[in-house]
Subunit: 338 residues, 6 copies
């Protein structure tokens, strides 16, 4: 297998004012790239796994910025598709930090992007058998009708090989579609899914689940024959202080996992911490023979650490992750790394 994880999703440009400045005023913006699916594979490559992303970007200097950025994270640029059309565009979003009681804010400008013009013909079929895990999210399904259909088709192609696990994160966004559309579409693909990420709130509101978190996760696993179902629990004390843990249900051995929350996380940039969680879970599964407790520990540590790092992407390495897990579990720790 050439790649540990391949994802499919839009890469978007993020523009954000420094510090606590406001989008309605600030002339200086920081440009970075992100996107739920890119965030997952970037974190994995930064940790040393091999990953790639199927996406489509403009064939101009903005596309070069994207290409060079993902290469810097170690994500392969082999699967990039270039849009040579005259209306090629790179989707973008603007983000502003919060400070209690002011909430963080995101404004999207991602319609009509090159990604939405991706077709099945753009994809080399060898891709479908080149990865241990294929990951995508509800955002990709929600962007536009054509990309939705194509995504479902791509999921099926990866699934056909029987050698690739399908990972899917619901990541429900009310600004992209409504709950009915989401449920209808996602339940269509759930039979193909092996690893499933869904928040409790979405499980209840979108999928009508009831009961406690264990019951909810188990219910997904049972209904759709999913191997692993995971859900995070973030508590936003203020925009700058969170606590975090998560839950995993492993249907193979019918086990349910959690750990005590990380408390008093200094939230520098919350965006992408959900995606980092997924990366951590996949990292734990791939490197520890699908041990779900390890997956949960890595997921939590990846996510928590991401909150302390500016930008969408978890810029770190595995030794830092391991030291955070160790400290969380009471291991000896110094005040500073020298």
């Amino acid at each position: 297998m050439k790649f540990d994880v391949t994802s499919l999703g839009e890469i978007i440009c993020r523009l954000s004012p420094p510090g606590n400045e406001r989008l309605s005023r600030c002339e200086e913006l920081k440009r970075q790239i992100g996107g739920a699916e890119l965030n997952v594979v970037s974190a994995l490559s930064n940790m040393g796994l091999r990953s790639a992303i199927i996406t489509k970007i403009p064939n101009n200097r903005l596309g070069v910025f994207v290409k060079n950025s993902i290469r810097s994270f170690g994500v392969s640029d082999d699967l990039l598709i270039y849009d040579n059309s005259s209306n090629a565009r790179l989707g973008l979003y603007y983000s502003e930090s919060g400070a209690a009681p002011r909430k963080p804010c995101v404004i999207y400008d991602r319609e009509h992007s090159s990604f939405c013009s991706l077709t099945l013909e753009d994809i080399n079929p060898e891709i479908y058998s080149a990865s241990k895990i294929f990951h995508t999210t509800g955002i990709t399904l929600a962007l536009a009708p054509e990309i939705r259909e194509n995504t479902i088709e791509i999921i099926k192609e990866f699934s056909k090989t029987k050698k690739t696990l399908i990972s899917f994160d619901v990541n429900f966004r009310a600004n992209l579609w409504n709950e009915d559309e989401a449920r209808k579409t996602i339940t269509e693909i759930l039979p193909y899914v092996d690893i499933f990420f869904c928040s409790q709130e979405t499980a209840k509101l979108t999928f009508g689940k009831t009961g406690n978190v264990e019951q909810i996760l188990k219910s997904f696993a049972d209904e759709y024959n999913i191997k692993i179902v995971a859900s995070t629990k973030r508590d936003a004390i203020t925009p700058k202080v969170h606590s975090f843990t998560s839950y995993i249900y492993d249907s193979t051995n019918k086990a349910f996992y959690t750990e005590k929350p990380y408390e008093n996380i200094d939230v520098i940039d919350r965006i992408g911490s959900g995606d980092a969680y997924i990366a951590g879970v996949l990292y734990g599964l791939l490197t520890h023979d699908f041990d779900c407790m390890k997956a949960l520990q890595y997921g939590n540590a990846f996510s928590v650490l991401k909150n302390t790092i500016p930008g969408d992407i978890l810029c770190s390495d595995i030794s830092e992750i391991n030291s955070i897990i160790s400290a969380h579990n009471g291991g000896h720790t110094s005040e500073m790394d020298r």
Copy 2:
């Protein structure tokens, strides 16, 4: 009425080092404009009301900076008076942030400014009947003898129309005058005042008031026949964390208002939050038919939000304010605006 609120006061240039840097060291300074009276009308215009400021500025590129800045907030530049003299100057102050236990610090350099040369002849008398509310502060009275006399005269002119309410904020500054001067001057104008802002500390030390906050506010209202008296309560836990609420006494229906404090405010920049409070109170009065509970809620929300925004001015809009009030009152709120 052309304007909802007109104020009179000095616009000063603020120079501040970034982040936690020190005034005694830092070469990079951020320039913004402020001033207690400008801060009030700027917040009001940002919220959609029409406002103006009577002031005098140098007729050079520094004056252009001031003019363009107030225009950007939506404050009318119609009432600006330009100083063509060779010693025209723009007053300024330097400000440094705090970090516990280091206190924030402000150094003023505002003497001999163009504002102090403002004369009654500079003012078009049509101004006096063009505004629903006229607002000024004790700082304007304290700057210099001539501006003090002129200010009192201007207050009387606005008052004469019987259509303009007079709003006054004591804003006592020991570096500008002493308590005796302040009391003597302010008690001279209080008979013209309809809406009065005074801290409890100043009420006690400068005006010799005693009793609890309700008694103090009522005492001003009774003694000088003031319609509305308001006082804020800030608790500076550390330079970066405050709590805040306020009190209003409405003499018309003899009612006293307060609400539970906002807690754990992330203080990014505390300067101007008192002025934002006044803007919020005036906003509530003007848009909600002089409902003092609304005025208090807006006052508190304006002030609290200002603390989270760099600079003197409340850069926001009314929908953000409303969502903060709603969240404070237990309304449903998401972690992030998307």
Copy 3:
């Protein structure tokens, strides 16, 4: 008349890396606003005339940035139309400076913007009789079919009043439309045009004009009964050094004007210098009783000065302009303004 000049056009956000950095690499971007039509009215308001722009912008924080920016230049926000739809977007472009032999570069991302959804119903008809001059450009015509039709209609409405002069700049952009479309559309509106700006290159390639510049300008005036026809001559020695002058034909007194070029202009930012030229011509006409030599001198000085100022907008004042004209004409000049 409420306004000296009203324009119609899209306001776009400009993102540019600092100094000589590259769009394909740089994380720090400067955000400013611009647009050919806004650039004209902004320069005029900075010089003290009253101007406004008819445009449509998103009703979010990006729209607030636009609103506050044009207010800071002194352009009225009265004619702004707000787009409340969920797919409201602010068009944008990316720009990179040049350094010989590297050329400057611009990448547009302005399709599907809120401006293109502007309808005639959005416009208060009182606007049509509130301005001495109405100005727009070929860019507005080229953006999309609907806005093209509406623009033609708006030109006719302004023209109907007989009190408003119509100013039009061809500003041909090959990335927006082709020469046939441009010629067909523009010849349709030329009968309504009083002041016409067209480069010699476009006159030849798009309109099939021949002869020297005087013959070309006269030919437009004669054919379409245009009062004033103007054309600029820029010589880009390197991306950082230009020379510049222009030509005006005044059909009323059949006179042709030019002046010796400005040489060795330090080009800090070339974008918007053509729009500044138009502003200068209109300024000269409006303030000097349609004296075309004055118009040419102001046009040249506005344009040349714009090249020395970062951003699309001519940020200056009339005394600086006058001193540049005076120095160009051999008047005494010091090395530095003190």
Copy 4:
């Protein structure tokens, strides 16, 4: 005496990314100078005492940066020694801030620096009798064998005069030497030491001390006939919030001192706060006739304040220090210095 305090140590260049950025990614670095021994004398000169440092720096523009920087703090450049060799180098270190649960991080690149080539011949012997206190640390001893031997010799030279007190801070760094080396070397110089700083952890692990902090400090004093022994107690709640106090044993009057800790310190930059403590203790001793309670109060205030200031150096003045001590002891304090 020409100087109040003279120290011996390496001046190193510090490179740090802004805010919460990462060393593995950030292109923008802030350059400052530091070094345990420089930090002590810089704080003292900023407070008005006269100080100098014996060190060796490259005779190039990097050396000029060092020279000018220490002069700006008021530290004398008289004792600087310039390295004219072709392999002169300025040691440096990279530092990254922490955000819970991410730890701060420091990477050293200080081997083979010019300082390590300092010889006894480089030093003018008049220095040895020109200072009230001579201070150095275990870091200087640990850098290299030659500098270790020379440092011991220099300590003896200062000690010989009988007029200069010897101050020594263990400052154990596991990345420079091991505990055996440290104990062996330091016990060799302890007979010359008058003022001794050692953390409890190092006292136990390196020197095998047992008992409570009072017993440990007293044990050093008794064993080596040391006048004053001090130890700090930092509690790192998170990388951004610390509490702090310290302990001093005065063997002359056999007294033990401490005070209640400073709580909720906003840690902007923790580096150098231990050195600031030493500066505070020496300041208190020198200016208050060796009153150890004063020394402890100054030590704590210096250290606590340093945490709130970016960079290694305590950039402050004595009036700010006094106001922090006063506030800690319950004195009246305002929210802001105006």
Copy 5:
């Protein structure tokens, strides 16, 4: 062949003050990576060829910065060797721009770096047959005796395969070695070299060549049986304005090539322009079947363009290069890319 070009050389960190600031004063430094050999392969990968670099870097966050940076250029990180030793260090240099008559300045701090500890055992022998061209420079030979010996060995290994061309740039640096050492070492490897780069000045001073440039280049080719010999001609009018061309001698068909110089180059950053020249020559040879005129044109365009781009690396793409060549040869060109 896996790679088009593989190089061997030290990657160093470059620290430079912004704009025209001075190394002796400026606190803000920009960090980038460079190195003569890296610069060559980075330019090639940016143009779409496949390249790699054999080097050794610290296994810490500074090494991650290097790894991610070269990945962003598209240079493979497969051949990176990580130094886990406790004294691993990344060499660096400081650079300051010039402004006439102030000269640019570079200060090196690269001794004892991890690269110098590279051994033949660190290298996977498969590398030797994986590249069409192997490139290195005299800098690598000059760094230290061990790396010199190893480099000669590595050249021989690549040469043994008979499938890899050896490219060598003298790049004489008087601060690293003297002319005798250089001549002695380089003449030892010249028999293995196929493509040779040497300045006329070095040819004369170091190798004792005489005659005109054609005679000099031919003399190297004849004496050592070198296929292609190239030499650049830079004329530094001022630090900010250069002209540039080059000469190539092709021994296969005994032809000598040059073209008219590029004039009036805006020099933003001169460093790395010599390395970009080499990249251009290799690009032309590899993509145009060893056509030396193409190689010369690409070499000149690469080099000239590099001067306009901040940093060591030619950040560009092949279409920009082609448009510069076309404009230089009189092709039609617009003032701006839109």
Copy 6:
């Protein structure tokens, strides 16, 4: 003698926007210190001479900024006088760069500064005999009547010792006084002056001199018995390109000196280049036994180099100066210092 040169003058704070930004718009300002007299002594101390400045500054954090800044240049802070009054202020000026045809611009805000309150009683009389040269300028005389009188008194005090040479630069500023005042005041002090700096333009307009430059300089020397009279010749081709040379008349040996101009100077910051010239002349005189040709060469090189350095102060060292003189005189020079 403790100092080589002592000056008397106001230290002012300079605020300037970055690059080509405008004072009427830019929020980011760079703070530096300057002042004609400080610029002279700072350049001298940077070159290794011992210097001091008599001035008065506020006793607050702004004063600390001044104190630390002059210390960083090596100027002694021994003669600083601190203003403890409540209206202490630091004078300042705003400066904006030019770009042809836009002129550079300076706005002063220096009235009522602490310096103007300097009294003779503030000065320790030992100062008067502690310096080889005393230097001041017409700016100091022009600031206010009191400081004018005191300055004249101070000149006389220095002169009385017979051991100190008096250096005086006319530096006529029309915004501070008029030509009549200037002539009247300066002719009063010329009998005490040994080294006199005056531009030809001022010589003609203010002092009514006629003839060529040699005649003018000689005329001053003869009339007032001045040892050395110097005058600079700057030719501002554009704000970014100047040429420069100067003339010196040495009355002792009745010789007149000049040299060929420096051409094509890249003017990064022109402010302070006149003061740097004076520093160079004094440096040449003091270090080369009053050889006026040396003085002229140093003066020219100091001045020319200052133009290439941001800020008022010549931040350089004597080896750089010597290399510029050598290159100007045709000495061998490389393109870059490595």
